[in-house]
Amino acid sequence: MAKNKKKKELIIIGAGPGGYAAAFRAADLGIKVTLVDPEANPGGVCLYRGCIPSKALLHIAQVKQEALEAAEWGLKFEKPEIDLKKIRKWKEQVVKKLTGGLGQLSKGKKIEYIKGTAKFVSEKKLKIQPNDSEAYEAEFQNLILATGSVNVSLPAIEIDHNKIIDSKDALELKDIPKSMLVIGGGYIGLELGSVYAALGSKVSIAEMTPGFLPGADRDLVKIFEKEHPFKDLFFNTKVEKVSIKKDKIKVELKEKNGKSSEKSFDKVLVAVGRKPNTDTLALENSGIKVNDAGFIEVDQKRKTRNENVYAIGDLTGEPLLAHKANYEGKIAAEAIAGIKGAAYDPGSIPAVVFTNPQLAWCGITESEAKEKGIEIKVLKFPWSASGRAVAVGSPNGLTKLLVEKKTGRILGGAVAGKNAGSLIPEISLAIEMAATAEDVALSIHPHPTLSETIMEAAEIFSGSPTHISK
């Protein structure tokens, strides 16, 4: 057995959506997999303290918001009561159910799951530190690094996990502060800010750039700007200093034009982004280097410069998204199994912000098209012309396609409004399949659904959308 412990066919460090996808695929391909992660079950940040718990809470927020909206249409509910303990419990149940399910799958696939951490001792050797037993060294034939990312902290702001919190603390939902400042107007800040706003906090946002979601499609952001649930927006603003004064937190804000102001809040959430989690790997012992942005460089098969060492997910670069990691995990597993065609070459990686309204986009953006010198036609279909959108109270939404002028190929897309996250995959698939606007326009879409907005946007390309005038 000792010998067995030493030489492993495939070790995967990190069991997030990248690591467990790699493990499952590799196991299915007949490879003996050892999966190392500090949590009891696979899931990683995504399931334990990211995508999934936040979506559980956002769902509650959405139900509350919709109930409120319904009052305008003649359906009035009592003022909702918020039982924080029960919400927490429900959220925890969701997480437990899903991670437990992954644990079962992992067992079913005969994966050796080690609760613990691992780091490099040398190029070809790891030190595995199980949570509850002694550390030992292990060699591997192949290795996949999948340790994901961690929250970026701000040097001037110390997170005390009580008054000044990070996204993980925010998801624990200890209390609902009266007022809250979210530092960072990216998707994490907006989603968690939305949760707290829905639960009754007065949430303000401080963002260094001129608007929400730097880098995202501005047409989408404009729609969100009209409907956002926040109190004050401090754009072009830097948080200079944060100090705790009794129960309040004093925050010094400095605008780009030099104007300073001081505000106080009951809670401050720091959500300024995430960075690759390489610190725990002792990469210096492996010879693997990270680039200037801190990411591990990999080839199309997700292989690092070290033969037999692969890296996936947030470790390898933007976008830091679970579904990208998941895809990369499967590719790396296939590459290790010798599947020649396996390579990471996505044409489109969709991104979704689960606020209300939801924002989603994929493929290239207008500015990217400009940079690359691709001539595009932007096709916008406003949801005010969609029967379904109006009927479900989302008339401000927008569906947008970016189509290459000469070929009619769909190269990018964006959706804002209810269920945008469930609409974007159609556009993403169209991009991957190299579909043209004509193809989408000629595919029958069910009525009355929001998906018709994609078809109608595509119809604009040929100049004849049914429900809007040119």
Binding site: K32, D299, Q300, A342, S348, T407, G408, A434
Partner: protein, 474 residues
């Protein structure tokens, strides 16, 4: 977890074949490399091995089906893990065995990988090269043609394509430095994956769909297009022969088709030069006779010629080479593999004696016997017919005074051997009856000049007459 077993590159230049026999049935547990189906291709019958062990979940083809490269033939359930379990539950001893086994297995996937890659490489090679053994010639030339065509297309074609190609190049660069996107190539993820499997540069494939979208069919057409080129010239309308008498039409066999295609492309690509010489092999004949009387060993003149040619190829490296016109380079090979043409019922086959320079004449003789047998039984594997650098075609057993064989592209020379005859030779003021062997050498003038050709052939005939002198380099 199901794995698809796909039709590999069956033989060089062979894109499709007919399923002649299915060797497994659904539910069968099969080993890695176990043959699963037999197909009849241009190149005799080939059995397709399974790339991995597992259980046959479903068979996707039936006997008589026409299949082409990349088609799924069998879906396989990976079966290894199950075995592991049952073994693990056994005694300690079993566990040790198990560990050993695991170690073995640990190594195996690697082997598997490299083998797969090799196979695919071969695939790539052959697909790029397009020709069957004889005349990959056509391929190179047609590839060139293709490229040129594409270039002109890009130049004259609509701006669109130009844009695209420019971008694709960018993408390729990006890929090298780790970035991801080939999003601007209009092909679905499955098509992109198949292109990598087939070793096709998808950036060079012309899509037939809307917006230039590339389908799996386009990939296959792209592969074929290079090959199809020269056959166009053979599509000359034939007269109606029945006006002069009775005729019968018969399908050409796979090997016949391949030979026809390859010789014609070799002929149109390689500027052939023919050189003749003769060698006095009386001493060799005498020695062979003695050897025969003394032992079981059956040495043939072909075996001796293979050995002599192997030494000659070492001395004249340009004959052990290929020409790469695309890159304007010659490819000198550091190994000496010699093909020996074999006449079979089904047609001409050319098994290859690998590393002939490192083998004794006796070993070569035995190998030729084995391979010739296999060739006649249609059991030669692809590997046994690949990788030749030079070919010997000995028709002496049948007769003839001389002939001009066609160079087996991408090789650059071929030695033709006719029947040895007793002839009066003027030696020491007297005519003596000597065994004279007529030799002919056909070579590629792009690579080899006349003077080099005659030196090479002369070296061979001298080596046959006086091995010591030749070997001493005198």
């Amino acid at each position: 977890m199901a794995t698809d077993i796909k039709i590999p590159q069956i033989a060089e230049g062979v894109e499709s074949a007919t399923v002649t026999e299915i060797l497994v049935k659904e539910g069968d547990k099969i080993e890695k490399d176990q043959s699963v189906i037999a197909v009849e291709s241009d190149k005799a019958s080939v059995e397709i091995p399974s790339p991995e062990a597992g259980t046959v979940a479903s068979i996707e083809v039936s006997e008589g089906d026409e299949v082409s490269v990349g088609d799924v033939i069998i879906k396989l359930e990976a079966g290894e893990s199950k075995d592991d379990d049952s073994e693990e539950e056994e005694s300690d001893k079993a566990e040790i065995e198990e560990t050993e086994k695991k170690e073995k297995k640990d190594k195996e996937p690697k082997k598997k990988n490299t083998k797969k890659t090799e196979e695919v490489d071969e695939k790539e090679e052959s697909e790029e090269e397009k020709g069957v053994k004889k005349s990959e010639d056509e391929e190179e030339s047609s590839d060139e043609e293709n490229e040129e065509e594409q270039e002109t297309e890009e130049e004259t074609g609509d701006k669109d394509e130009k844009d695209n190609s420019g971008k694709l190049e960018e993408n390729e660069d990006e890929d090298e430095t780790n970035s991801s996107s080939s999003g601007e190539i209009p092909a679905s993820p499955g098509v992109r994956r198949l292109a990598r499997e087939l070793g096709v540069d998808i950036a060079k494939v012309k899509g037939s769909g809307p917006g230039g979208r590339i389908s799996k069919g386009d990939l296959k057409d792209h592969n074929k297009s290079g090959k199809g080129k020269t056959t166009a010239s053979t599509e000359i309308t034939l007269p109606d022969f029945s006006q002069w008498g009775e005729t019968e039409r018969k399908q050409l066999s796979g090997i016949r088709k391949a030979t026809a295609k390859n010789t014609s492309t070799a002929w149109s690509t390689i500027p052939h030069v023919f050189q003749f010489d003769e060698a006095d092999i009386s001493d060799i004949e005498e020695y062979m006779q003695k050897l025969k009387e003394k032992s079981e060993a059956n040495i043939t003149i072909t075996a001796i010629l293979v050995k002599v040619a192997a030494v000659a190829l070492r001395q004249f490296p340009k004959f052990n080479a290929s020409i790469d016109m695309k890159n304007e380079e010659m490819i000198l090979k550091k190994y000496v593999n010699i093909g020996v043409a074999a006449d079979t019922d089904k047609g001409l086959l050319v098994p290859v004696i690998k590393n002939a320079d490192q083998k004794t004449i006796l070993e070569i003789a035995n190998e030729i016997t084995t391979l010739a047998e296999k060739a006649r039984e249609g059991k030669l594997t692809r590997e046994e017919m690949e990788g030749g650098n030079f070919t010997i075609s000995n028709l002496g057993g049948i007769g003839g005074t001389n002939f001009t064989p066609i160079v087996y592209h991408p090789q650059v020379a071929i030695l033709g051997v006719s029947r040895a005859k007793k002839q009066p030779v003027f030696i020491n003021e007297n005519f003596e009856p000597r065994d004279i062997l007529p030799l002919s050498l056909s070579y590629d003038h792009r690579m080899i000049d006349g003077a080099e050709g005659v030196r090479f052939l002369h070296w061979i005939s001298r080596a046959l007459e006086n091995p010591y002198e030749a070997l001493l380099g005198a």
